[in-house]
């Protein structure tokens, strides 16, 4: 019975954790930081825990009224980064950036939001 219990735990741990929680790209840091102020009014930089797919990852910036502002984004594969470039510099106000990232290896998608303000 002992061997079976051990087997159960081992199998559960290995199959479970292995296929689930590992390879998701998490946001490690952002510039501006969440809840912080943007110094650069044209560029926002996100850094992830994993390499992400350039074609499947991106972000959009919305103002406090929820209107989407024009931007383009590109990834920096070496730095595991996503750079969001605003078409027009941000005016003073509160903003939300919604990002989505797909890990280059297992293809899992993660999403998140960073709120920041511009003075």
């Amino acid at each position: 019975m002992k061997i079976i219990t051990t087997a159960a735990i081992a199998l559960a741990l290995s199959l479970g954790i292995a296929s689930g929680a590992l390879a998701h790209a998490k946001l490690v840091k952002s510039d501006p930081p969440a809840g912080g102020q943007a110094k650069d009014k044209s560029n926002i930089e996100l850094t992830f825990s994993e390499e992400i797919s350039g074609k499947l990852s991106g972000a959009e910036v919305k103002d406090s009224a929820g209107a989407r502002l024009a931007s383009t984004s590109m990834i920096d594969q070496k730095e595991k980064g996503l750079m969001v470039m605003m078409k027009a510099p941000l005016k003073p106000g509160d903003y939300k950036l919604d990002w989505h990232a797909v890990a280059s290896d297992d293809g899992h998608r993660t999403t998140g939001t960073v709120a920041f303000s511009v003075k």
Binding site: A7, S19, A21, A23, K26, L56, D106, T111
Partner: protein, 289 residues
Amino acid sequence: MFALLAATRFVHFAALTVLFGLLAFPFYACGPGEDAPRFPKAIKWSAVLTLISAWAVLLMMSANMGGGLASTFDPQVLQAAIGDTEFGRVWTVRLLLALAMAAMLIRPGPARDMKRLVLCGGLLASIGLTGHSAMPGGVPGIIHRLADAAHLIAAGWWIGGLLALVLAAPALGANAVRVLERFSGVGYGAVAVIVLTGLFKSAVLIATVNSSVSTAYGWTLLLKIGLFAGMGALALANRFWITPGLKRGGDPAIWLPRLRRQVMAEFALGIGVLAVVGALGAMSPPVSG
């Protein structure tokens, strides 16, 4: 989205696991002179299901990457999913293998066919190449993947073998005790491989994963441990109750149906374990900023 991805993953794992177990069964369960069971129908249909579900998993993964079901048939998303992720590249090769295998297995073949077993085993083992990252590179990475492959093969050996036993049971007759004892023998081997590779993998994972396991994830794991423990209990009942019962010269008309029910229950629990694996891989830990 989650349910669809979990369901397609489950069907793929289950079909492939069963298929491998069915193909492996004649190699160990029957002696050289004995007539080995062939399961042509079950083999054909699980090969077809493996192929269809491989497509379904790719489409669901791609839809997930694109952000929802609406992007399931978006060619740009699908192209990026295939070309821009490791998962997509590995899965494309697996799809081709699944196609070749279905073409081979759709017609009945000999009971012991090493070619078919190796192809199916390769397809089963390659699942381990699609779900990982943050894994050490170089030699430790290779060792980890080998352990993964052995783990999957052993699981298929055991769970698929149970279905083979269910299907073969009515025709076993006087052979039943011999077949059961052989099955138990390799069953112990398979469980030993599952335990050893599982412990190794756990050790590596616990060393590399931080505690990002969510509560729902933890409960799902516990459910799986419960199912697995149930399988173990039934396996012991088989070994220490039914096999000796038959060996004593018990009436096969009573003991063989009993065996069949018990192995069916064990197989059902095994399918339950695979369903949980399907769900776990589709789960995302709660990520925010």
